[in-house]
């Protein structure tokens, strides 16, 4: 069961950190994982991808991919601008979007190879409630990991929370883990038109 995941956000939003924490989370469940950034220079604010692989066997393949089993969108603006169309979601794929409550999700903003299930959570609100703000930006990556756990069932929320606490240490780790658990609870299957 090799699953390939793309975290699509903006440079500085923590997509790479999310991909790496996911590896740590799946290791706790006896699975194998890979997490890596888009290969190249860092560009704060620009649309950037981060990648994860999860498997029950050691992962042999390396390198970037532009079609995936799970697409996690950290910034709703990438959907409204149609940038999410650049990534192909495979048949029976899963799309998880950080979406404001009033946002209408449209299928035409995505490239779907077959059927796909959509999930949404207002991770920005959760981050603001938890006062998770760095340099003026709400920190949504840890919440989106909670949403990922809920939407895919590929990893338990406990493992995600534990991995987050280990990654950040101390009170900031606790708050981020709480945000992930909160997002896990609030993630809902979304209607798309």
């Amino acid at each position: 069961m090799l699953k390939e995941i793309i975290f699509y956000g903006r440079g500085g939003q923590g997509g790479v950190t999310a991909a790496n924490i996911l590896v740590s989370a799946v290791l706790r469940e006896g699975l194998y994982g890979q997490g890596f950034p888009f290969f190249g220079a860092e560009r704060r604010g620009a649309p950037v991808m981060a990648f994860s692989r999860i498997s029950d066997k050691p992962i042999l393949r390396h390198g970037m991919f532009y079609d995936c089993d799970v697409l996690v969108v950290l910034d709703p603006k990438l959907v409204s601008l149609g940038l999410t169309k650049r990534i192909e979601v495979r048949d029976r794929g899963v799309v998880v979007v950080n979406a404001p409550d009033n946002m209408v999700l449209e299928k035409k903003a995505f490239t779907l190879k077959g059927s796909a299930k959509f999930y949404r959570v207002n991770a920005t609100r959760i981050a603001l409630e938890k006062k998770l703000v760095i340099a003026g930006w709400p920190v949504v990556n840890t919440s989106m990991l909670g949403a990922f756990a809920r939407a895919t069932g590929l990893v338990s929320i406990n493992s995600v929370a534990e991995a987050i606490k280990e990654y950040f240490h101390g009170p900031i780790g606790e708050t981020n883990a709480e945000a992930a658990v909160e997002a896990y609870k609030q993630t809902r299957e979304a209607e798309v038109c």
Binding site: G33, Q34, I59, L60, H62
Partner: protein
């Protein structure tokens, strides 16, 4: 019992240097190497590693300082990439010709111009005439294991040559994967104390690099060639004993996957060998009798091991991630030259150069390339000797 941690390939190198208890690190930052030395600086600053970090003004000085520390008796380490490696090239030769054990990680990146930070093997393969032992990993675990082993190999009295360990930038360097770290005490016992042939530490008058007559000079270089031959055995012994310690034995200078009953052999080095293995596994399920020989050490060149698996096969496809302009990929060139001592009746051998400048080459590409090669040979036709595989 070891502990599994999710770390990048660069951090795997830093952990390996730390667990080998390096005493001196001298380095200069360059993408995509920098995070190795950053991590080591963290280890030193926090007191986890009792070592001296020498911050130098260039890579030329980085290796000069590493060399000097090693001469004086310290287990010394540095790391670099691409233009940094080219800049230290003079000291690369000095270190091996002085027979001083040193370990250096090369986080590979292509060579400019044009400016490019993406990985291929151009910088690494450029080092093959330097007298360093050259090892290359396939994943983060192997990168850790190889780096630790490099100290053992380098400090073996039969070898006393410096060792470079290669890993591709980004593909391994910046990718998080699980890595099992051995128990420190067990590793200490296995690796043992720093060992070298002589020290220059000021306690007795001793000069290095004095003028030598042509015959003396030639004899010293002939000795490096002999030590390279002996290193083949040492590398295998180290792989064996490390395997007993950790349960991870790779096979020595090459790793074979499905070679024993193969009629075709695909040869590659580095992270993309993993993608190649995945592609070949799929081809085998479809009835293609293909095996993979993964190059773990390119110096000394493992021609004996390669001949053992190539002898009798119908075709060999060699995948190079670097090119000697005007000739072919370097692994192909070395392989064909080496096989000439065994037979005048070579199997069909094709060379594919790909992934240059960081072009993303994956299991789907390898599936097509290997399948196509086998299909052509099976039809009794001659595939091109050299192909630059480029997707655009």
């Amino acid at each position: 019992m070891g502990k599994v941690v999710p770390i990048t390939g660069n951090y795997a190198v830093a952990y390996a240097a730390k667990m080998a208890r390096v005493q001196v690190v001298a380095a200069y930052p360059i993408t995509p190497q920098t995070s190795i030395v950053e991590k080591l600086a963290e280890f030193i600053e926090s007191g986890e590693l009792d070592a001296v970090m020498i911050r130098v003004e260039s890579e030329h000085s980085a290796l000069a300082a590493t060399f000097g520390a090693a001469l004086a008796g310290a287990r010394a380490f540095t790391a670099t990439s691409s233009h940094g490696l080219l800049y230290m090239h003079e000291w690369v030769h000095w270190t091996s010709r002085a027979r001083v054990p040193v370990v250096m990680a090369i986080v590979t990146r292509t060579i400019g111009t044009p400016w490019n930070i993406w990985p291929d093997h151009s910088d690494f393969m450029d080092q093959r005439d330097t007298g360093w032992i050259l090892g290359f990993g396939m994943d983060n675990q192997e990168v850790f294991d190889l780096t630790v082993q490099a100290f053992k190999i380098s400090e073996d009295p039969r070898v006393y040559l410096p060792v470079m360990i290669g890993l591709e930038g980004f593909i391994l360097g910046h990718t998080t994967m699980p890595v099992e770290l051995p128990d420190q005490k067990e590793l200490d016992d296995w690796l043992g104390p720093r060992r070298q042939g002589y020290v220059i530490d000021g306690r007795e008058p001793l000069a290095i690099g004095n003028l030598a007559w042509p015959e003396d000079t030639e004899e010293m270089f002939m000795d490096i060639q002999k030590a390279m031959e002996e290193a083949k055995q040492v590398i295998k012994e180290v792989d064996e004993s490390y395997g007993k310690l950790t349960g991870r034995k790779y096979g020595g200078l090459i790793q074979c996957v499905g070679c024993s009953n193969a009629k075709y052999i695909a040869i590659a080095m580095g992270a993309w060998a993993g993608d190649l293995i995945e592609a070949v596994q799929k081809l085998r399920e479809e009835g293609y009798p293909v095996g993979v020989a993964r190059i773990r050490f390119v110096r000394p060149f493992p021609i004996e091991d390669l001949w053992k698996i190539i002898n009798g096969v119908k075709g060999v496809i060699v995948l190079d991630r670097a090119i000697s302009f005007g000739a072919w990929g370097q692994i192909y060139t070395d392989l064909v030259a080496g096989l000439a001592q065994y037979t005048r009746n070579l199997p069909v051998i094709s060379n594919i150069v790909a992934g240059i400048g960081g072009v993303n080459v994956t299991h789907t590409d390898f599936y097509k390339l290997v399948k196509n090669f086998v299909d052509i040979v099976e039809k009794g036709e001659q595939p091109p000797v050299f192909t630059w595989y480029h997707k655009r």
